[in-house]
Symmetry: C2
Subunit: 347 residues, 2 copies
DNA sequence: TAACCTTACGCAAACGTTTGCGTGTGGAAA
DNA sequence: TTTCCACACGCAAACGTTTGCGTAAGGTTA
């Protein structure tokens, strides 16, 4: 196994100095044409590639963006990453991804590791545990060391930095409005416990829509699911003998599980109950019936987040001092889990 | 914004030399207890973290594993990454992920970028384009520079290195056998074009199972799908008025699309047609009916791949010279898209 | 022939670490 | 008083780059 070839080796081989080699490869006029050609030929022959590590050390930047997400096996987060990669690659940045696995500790470790030299800035969606614990020292420390951070989706209000979010409240409100507009009146919501920020916001949107329609919300129409892995049992229990005509679920899994449970309980979607989910993932698209859902435009989020970060990374100090919050519009994708408007004149 | 604190700054502040600081932080006996404590207190106060870049440069290794996959928005690949991260983190390695987006060029660029200093070794599943183009110079070049590569799933026979695969042929054979064993006789296969190695192998497994049962394969029962994004039309056309009692699909998407198409064509799954897919992803688990499928145990693959790589990275030169191929056992997960054995005595 | 200007290259510092070895200071032993 | 030995610390090189500046050699001009 040969080792990677360095400037030093080329210099030795050609009996010139290291700086001559470096300059020759950069086509510096300081070096004679003859030498330049010789060096370049030699470099190509030995497949010379400058060592990024050395460059990073010298330039004090890595040209790398660190992305930390709560789960790697998750459609939405990967679409965001797709967006980040797109603009990062365009602008000559590398993307390094770590998952916190929803663990606070792992989030801290990952961030510290990347912050100590591996990345110039971060795009980050915080772990559940972090939201629960309300401990953000690692993020603030990172920023205080001069590394910009862009928070997305699961953000933290208390931390002052660039943010990219969707308007969860509005998205949920739109979804609920749609259910109301097709004539549903008894709308249940399947949501998460309150410390998950997006869950809470979506619940608020649901409530707001009901109030705007002068429908009083009922406690028994709200299910806050604790254990996501075991949501089917909770949903089944919740839906049992409940007189509803629509369900708004704050994520894809709750939505399909609801459809499944309804099926078992002998109710048809969308004929008996309309269902709307959140997040336009694989499941929503391919399920039978395909799910009407609120799309978060994950790729757009990634694109915006990356742009925000790179602006900060490359901007002058004026830009550096102001923080922006970008709100990505959601859109309602109508599929087959909800009735069409006017499809049932009796409602 | 304060900058990151370095040894030099601490040294200056405390009026000692850089090496004293370095040694003090490492609790070297060379340094007096008094100085050690002072330095450590100061370092903690200023939140000193050694600069990874400098360490990488000095140690000539990054403690980072590069993972390159064809698609980041893909359940199977992300589960593999999960496995890689698990063992990497245990062993003190960082994981850096890039997606090639199934593009040969992007695969080359990513690999070269990471190879020039960002990672010590690679875990890689090649892009479709690479399989088509049969150009593996980037991989061989990387290895010839002393960086180990572990190929997984979509591997390349011609490249000599460590590999982690499932036995696609056997998995497909098992699936087909299962269909045969529950009494199906007219089994169609939904597969990919031949240059996708795993598609071809799975097709072979299907054929082998049929032959073992003395059933002659029929050309008209085999559909090689070109355009994955538009598979519904192809499948619909293919299935039209076709007299079959089972379908083996080489991936999840083909399987659910088949179920959908069958539904439209008025056939029931599993009563009229049994369906088996490949890959145990979100769709298979949550679809109605839930899909019987061949699980690839993605996380296990990642774990094994990472172990293989780290062994090579940390092993002495003897280990370095031998290459292993690990075959992960697939397992058939029986769900509701296939009839139970003996459920229909007429078959 | 002397003075000067190009040309073409090398030197050295810097990025932040680690570490083997050299060395000054102090005290203890002879 | 001299000799010796710990002790506690600093020096310098190394990892691979880049780049401003210094400087030889050679040629041109007066």
């Amino acid at each position: 196994m040969k080792q990677k070839v360095t400037l030093k080796q080329i210099a030795k081989e050609l009996d010139v100095s290291i700086s001559t080699v470096s300059k020759a490869l950069k086509d510096s006029v300081e070096i004679s044409l003859d030498t330049r050609q010789k060096v370049k030929a030699f470099a190509k022959l030995y497949n010379y590639k400058p060592n990024n590590i050395a460059l990073s050390l010298k330039n004090r930047k890595t040209k790398t963006i660190g992305v930390i997400i709560p789960e790697i096996v998750h459609h939405f987060f990967t679409t965001v990453i797709g967006g980040v990669e797109k603009v990062a690659n365009e602008k000559g940045y590398n993307v390094i991804i770590c998952s916190s696995n929803n663990s606070f500790d792992k989030e801290v470790i990952n961030l510290e590791m990347l912050a100590s030299g591996s990345a110039d800035g971060f795009i980050l969606s915080v772990a559940k545990e972090t939201q629960l614990k309300k401990d953000y020292h690692h993020i603030e420390e990172t920023m205080s060391q001069g590394m910009p951070v862009v928070l997305f989706d699961r953000i933290i209000d208390e931390v002052v930095c660039d943010k990219v979010i969707i308007d969860d409240t509005k998205g949920a409100q739109t979804a609920t409005n749609h259910l109301l507009s097709i004539g549903c009146k008894k709308i249940a919501i399947l949501t998460t416990v309150d410390y998950i920020s997006v869950g809470k916001l979506r619940t608020n949107g649901y409530l707001r829509a009901l109030r705007a329609y002068d429908i009083t919300e009922k406690e028994e129409f709200i299910l806050k699911i604790e254990d996501i892995d075991n949501c089917e049992a909770e949903i089944s229990e919740f839906l049992k003998d409940k007189d509803i005509d629509a369900i708004f679920a704050v994520n894809e899994l709750f939505a399909v599980t609801a459809v499944k449970v309804l099926d078992v309980q002998g109710k048809k979607v969308p004929d008996d109950v309309s269902v709307i989910g959140f997040t336009d993932g694989i499941l929503s698209k391919h399920f039978i019936p395909s799910l009407t859902t609120v799309s978060q435009h994950g790729e757009d989020m990634g694109i915006r987040a990356a742009k925000l970060l790179i602006d900060k990374l490359e901007g002058d100090d004026e830009v550096t001092e102001e923080y922006r919050t970008v709100i990505i519009d959601t859109s309602l994708i109508q599929r087959k889990s909800t009735k069409k408007i006017g499809s049932d004149p009796n409602n």
